[in-house]
Amino acid sequence: MTAFKLAYRNLIGAGLRTWLNVFVLSLVYILIIWFYGLLDGWNRQAKRDMINWETGTGQYWQKNYDPYDPFTLNDSHDKIPAEVKDDINKGLITPILISQASIYPEGRIQGALLKGIDPGQTILELPTEKLAIEMEEIPAIIGTVMAKTNKLEEGDYVTVRWRDVNGTFDAAEARIVGIFKTFVPSVDAGQLWIPLERLQEMKQMQGEATIMVCGNNYTSETIDGWNFTGLDILMKEIEDIIATKSKGGSILYIFLMLLAMLAVFDTQVLSIFRRQREIGTYMAMGMTRGQVVRLFTIEGAMHAVLAALLGAVYGIPLLSLQAIKGFAIPGDSGSYGLAMADTIYPVYSIGLIVATILIVLITTTIVSYLPARKIAKMNPTEAIKGKLQ
């Protein structure tokens, strides 16, 4: 305790020099917590949005379906299994039929995916209730990205051409009955959502589906001809992206730490250089060399403790404000092809805060100890006179 008391006195007594280092270190705390909080916030938002808009809590894929291979689509359809019919009726699971198609907005040809979905489903947040409409044209809902890309607006007509199960081309007019805003581009870009039964009829695939999306209370079971794909696989892409971002963030982390540690190291070296007389006096008054090394190490490490306190003073209000107001992502985030909202709300977990404080504290202690070891080799009689050693 004496060493801590003395180290605290020395630090406070050193005035501006201490506070400059403490301020730099506190910035490191805040920036690291903010950056990783932002990544965590994005991660959570992206996963939440993907669950709500695309993946549900898991999916059954027809055994031929491979979302990364469009050539498998023609063969990726099968009768909806009898064992899930009840669950479909209860709203626990919803089938989707997927077909390749071409659309002709303003006379141009565009590749598109037709996705047939039950208008009454409630598992995904897609506004499919707008598809529950009787009309000659095919009712379709599209996302804002699709609408913008193809210059489509609500009420517009667009010609759709597809091939049925026998490979015969057919075409019809679709009418845009709704445009939805989503942060999940994989349910938006290049896609038209139409009623499931209508698509089954168009494709001559009555009672068939490509995938089945599970809701919250659904318990997966083995179904012949269908593969269950859990969230771990469905979320892998976004998790890989976040992991890549985290690695990128590590460079920032290391850079910030290096800057702060350089300041602490420099202060320690300067302290030991300038305070030789003081070191000699400590030894004359009965401190062992080890105790003096410990005192200087604690002094250095205490920068990190004071920085945590200072960081808390200005960081808690700033970070809280950011968590409430969010961080606006510049530009059109949908065009990145990632599930990224216009505004990301950082999430600062206790684990993140504690880990950051511990890492900075341990690193500062090590950086403080390295130059302090020199004290152990000092001759006290020379140190008392302030002679450089």
């Binding site: 003081e278 006096t281 008054m285 401190m287 062992t288 006290p380």
Partner: protein, 231 residues
């Protein structure tokens, strides 16, 4: 009578390496110091005064011979044991005061007691007593930079005396002070020597000090050339 020797030095030699040869700072010194002495080791620069004080103060060790201080043989002490001896039994006064610059007067004087882990109440009383002895109770919140040289040295004396050590070693305590301050400092130390029976050993070449001494040991080229007890 043997028991009253606080310091016993026999055949003490101290050599420092200097290039390929050695410089002999002390050359066969034999001396004893009794409890309650007020003794000056006098001599010109380079005569070995400070080296002798450093060895007595366990800050340095003999190359040959022995130095027994408070019953401990300095040459045989480990760093920790030497530090322990200094912490409990010795006070140091330096020419340049060596006060801790970021501490207040109170904190500087309190420092040795913190090392002894004395409780706060006793510590406060001891510090105030020590400051009273040297007459600087009005500046307890000042920092060394706000004090004159004489005041700094008085604080240094208070710091050396606060734990009531058996031995105080003072290396050129008046060298940076004017005559008036020097006399004041010396009177203070002489009074503490009388009142507390603390043994004082000075290293000095200041004539002002000499008239206060009870014993004067002269060194030249690392050897004792005279040892006089003053009347």
């Amino acid at each position: 009578m043997e028991n009253s020797h606080i310091v016993t030095i026999a055949g003490l030699v101290k050599r420092y390496p200097m290039g390929k040869s050695y410089f002999t700072a002390l050359n066969g010194i034999s001396l004893t110091f009794d409890t309650g002495e007020f003794t000056g080791v006098i001599g010109p620069s380079g005569s070995g005064k400070t080296t002798l004080l450093n060895i007595i103060g366990s800050l340095d060790s003999p190359s040959e011979g022995s130095a027994d201080v408070l019953g401990k043989s300095i040459g045989l002490l480990s760093h920790k044991q030497a530090a322990q001896l200094r912490k409990k039994n010795m006070g140091f006064i330096f020419q340049t005061y060596n006060l801790l610059p970021v501490y207040t007067v109170f904190e500087n004087v309190e420092f040795p007691l913190l090392l002894l882990k004395m409780n706060a109440t006793e510590r406060k009383k001891a510090v105030l007593d020590a400051l009273e002895w040297v007459g600087i109770t009005d500046k307890i919140k000042s920092k060394p930079a706000q004090l004159s040289g004489g005041e700094c040295q008085r604080v240094a004396i208070a710091r050396a005396m606060v734990k009531k050590p058996e031995l105080v070693l003072a290396d050129e305590p008046t060298a940076n002070l004017d005559a008036a301050n020097s006399h004041h400092i010396l009177q203070t130390m002489a009074k503490l020597n009388e009142d507390l029976k603390t043994t004082f050993i000075f290293a000095t070449h200041d004539d002002k000090v000499i008239k206060y001494l009870k014993r004067k040991i002269s060194l030249e080229d690392g050897k004792v050339v005279s040892d006089e007890t003053m009347l």
